[in-house]
């Protein structure tokens, strides 16, 4: 197991290097004019300004020179200031966010993290619970119903589900508004007295002892969280169900039953812990997969996170912003996947001891 983790850790830099090459490969397809926003805010409207920028930042140098410069940045004379360099966290200038890409991501990532955090609980809890219910009642009506519900759930596009819940709970009933905070709550959050510890509204509201702000933030989170959770339930349900069915047919479960143990104890003590081992992996991967889900969800609910930023930037063909978000997301994905693998090895002794 340790050898496996070491191998994964050794491959990781290669993968990340490959990711940067692929991203730069896409960037290199743009014209020098479009690439200029990697280094400068905007191009002055005077004769020859573009040529100066191309000269200064070497935008027509050989591709590998440009790649290296994009990676580590370059010193710009006469000020000696270092421009660009994604390793320094400099992803260029975002026309959509009217700020540097890195700053936009830093500002919006907490909102997305908050969404994912709240979605994780009902997602994993609900999916696993329904899967167990389905397996324990194998081939009974409830199992059949859940099977149909999960296939149907899998077939609903995120935006159709999101728009439908908006239609019912916002347009008709007026319970849960889109956005992230109401105007009054936004004023409270932005005021001097309100300390931003994490940039996550719900967490900060609790830390500031503002129950009203917390409730307002929650009200805005209910629908997007439900959308994210519902669409991943189907998958988790299916995995848990099949893993649980597999475990329930094992000899030790038969033994536990035949020695007269109550069914509930058989399930809770003997079957569930073993059945959940593969579920942990899938849950982890599903949570990492929320990176995909948030793009549409945030766009539908007008929620100011990284996903809605990506869709705005893509729509206005602001490639530098788009690639910045994609780069950061794939780093999250790669590390997340690695963490899930390690966790899997850690909880499953059969793998750990290999």
């Amino acid at each position: 197991m340790i050898a496996y983790i070491i191998r994964r850790l050794l491959i990781l830099p290669i993968i990340i290097l490959g990711v940067t090459i692929l991203v730069f490969g896409m960037l290199s397809q743009l014209t020098a004019y479009e690439r200029a926003s990697l280094y400068v805010k905007d191009i002055p409207k005077r004769q020859g300004a573009m040529e100066d920028i191309i000269e200064k930042y070497g935008l027509d140098d050989p591709i590998y020179v440009q790649y290296w410069r994009w990676l580590v940045g370059q010193r710009v004379e006469p000020t000696g200031e270092i421009k660009g360099g994604i390793l320094r966290g400099n992803l260029g200038w975002s026309k959509t966010g009217k700020s540097s890409v890195a700053r936009v991501i830093r500002r919006r990532l907490p909102a997305t993290a908050e969404l994912a955090l709240w979605a994780a609980v009902p997602l994993v809890g609900g999916g696993v619970w329904l899967g167990v219910v389905s397996a324990v009642n194998h081939n009974k009506p409830i199992d059949q119903i859940l099977r149909v519900v999960s296939i149907v759930g899998w077939s609903i596009p995120t935006f159709v589900f999101g728009l439908t819940v908006m239609m019912v709970f916002y347009a008709r009933l007026g319970w849960f508004p889109p956005g992230r905070l109401s105007d009054w709550a936004l004023q409270v959050v932005q005021s001097e007295a309100f300390r931003r510890y994490t940039q996550m509204n719900t967490v900060d509201a609790i830390l500031n002892l503002r129950l009203d702000v917390f409730l307002d933030a929650m009200k805005h989170l209910v629908l997007p969280v439900a959308t994210l959770a519902y669409l991943s339930w189907a998958y988790l349900l299916r995995i848990t169900r099949s893993s649980m069915l597999d475990t329930l047919s094992q000899d030790y479960v038969v033994t536990a039953r035949s020695k007269g143990l109550r069914e509930r104890l058989v399930i809770r003590v003997h079957a569930l812990p073993n059945a959940l081992i593969p579920v942990v992996t899938v849950s982890g991967l599903t949570l990492v997969g929320l990176l995909n889900g948030v793009v549409i969800t945030e766009t539908v609910f007008d929620y100011p996170g990284m996903g809605s930023f990506l869709s705005q930037a893509a729509l206005s063909l602001d490639i530098v912003s788009v690639l910045g978000v994609t780069l950061v997301s794939s780093l999250i994905l790669v590390t997340g996947n690695l963490a899930v693998d390690v966790l899997y090895g850690w909880i499953d002794p059969r793998i750990r001891l290999q």
């Binding site: 491959i11 290669i14 993968i15 990340i16 490959g18 990711v19 692929l22 896409m26 397809q29 743009l30 014209t31 479009e34 194998h138 081939n139 149909v148 296939i151 149907v152 899998w154 077939s155 609903i156 596009p157 995120t158 935006f159 159709v160 728009l163 439908t164 908006m166 239609m167 916002y170 347009a171 008709r172 889109p178 099949s242 069915l245 597999d246 329930l248 047919s249 997969g289 990176l291 995909n292 793009v295 549409i296 766009t299 539908v300 990506l310 869709s311 930037a313 893509a314 729509l315 063909l317 490639i319 788009v322 690639l323 978000v325 994609t326 997301s329 794939s330 994905l333 790669v334």
Partner: protein, 331 residues
Amino acid sequence: MRRQSPLRVLKKLLSNPTSLAGVILLVIFVVIAAAAPAIAPVPERSRNPYMIPRDGFSSTPRPPGPGHPLGTTEGQYDILYGVVWGTRTAFRVGVMIAFFTTVIGVSLGSIAGFYGGAIDEILMRITEIFQAFPFLLAAITMTSVLQTIYGRRAAGALMFIARVMALFAFGHNPTKPVDPIQLRILTGMLAITLFGWMTYARVIRGSILSVKQKEYAMAARMIGAGNMRILFRHLLPNAIFPVIVIASMRIGSYVLTFAALSFLGLGAQLGYADWGQMISFARNWIPSLAAHWHIVVYPGLAIVLFVLAWNLVGDILRDIFDPRMRVRGIG
């Protein structure tokens, strides 16, 4: 995965109530797609049957009524027309992406599995690099990059790829320039294809690795068959079936991804008969969706049923081909 004769698979698909429902739904969609000109006649002035005819230019959607059985969206695009002709778009997009991803995946995966060694190592690392991107984000990114490049009208090799895809997807003459309306669809399809082939590469590599050890492969090598002959005549026919099954199971998810692109405004062109594109109009009407429910419900229902049909069939295919998913012992 284990091998099954296609006829037996078909028999199993038709004998299970869930997959039968899926097959029936698919047949209905095929009929709608084929009979589109009869169900929703193309207006005489129309230059492209896939562009939804407009009835006026008022922005407020009209509810279902005479002339528009399913109502109109913002900009007075007829919903019935869009839903019916959108069926063709959905089939085209789903089947074509499945086809192209399979071709790429099978080529790279079989080369990796067959030659092994350094080639295998390099190709598998490349596969992992593509998998390091969140799929939808990668598709969105690639679409916006491709749109920028194609927008310049001088795209060299990429334009050649677009022409090849247009030949397959639209029967377009590859010597003529691609219609800009079709180019928008092709851009989305190409973006999804470029980040969708990895599973097939891994699966086919695994199957090739296992059939490579079989006696018939050894025998072919003994009698002096060349690499290409062994690969194409002996290995691929025995290894490709699971990939085709996975590809058909995924058609639904490709349609979903493309619909998501269209919903964001990156897929089909405004006014094109595409379900995701039609629903994107609803984004401007969220506070009054209760009154304009039809602009979400009808195109939305079309997508859900279409994807559901593929998933119902795929669900049973999985049971047939992956014995591990079958329940042992109890029940």
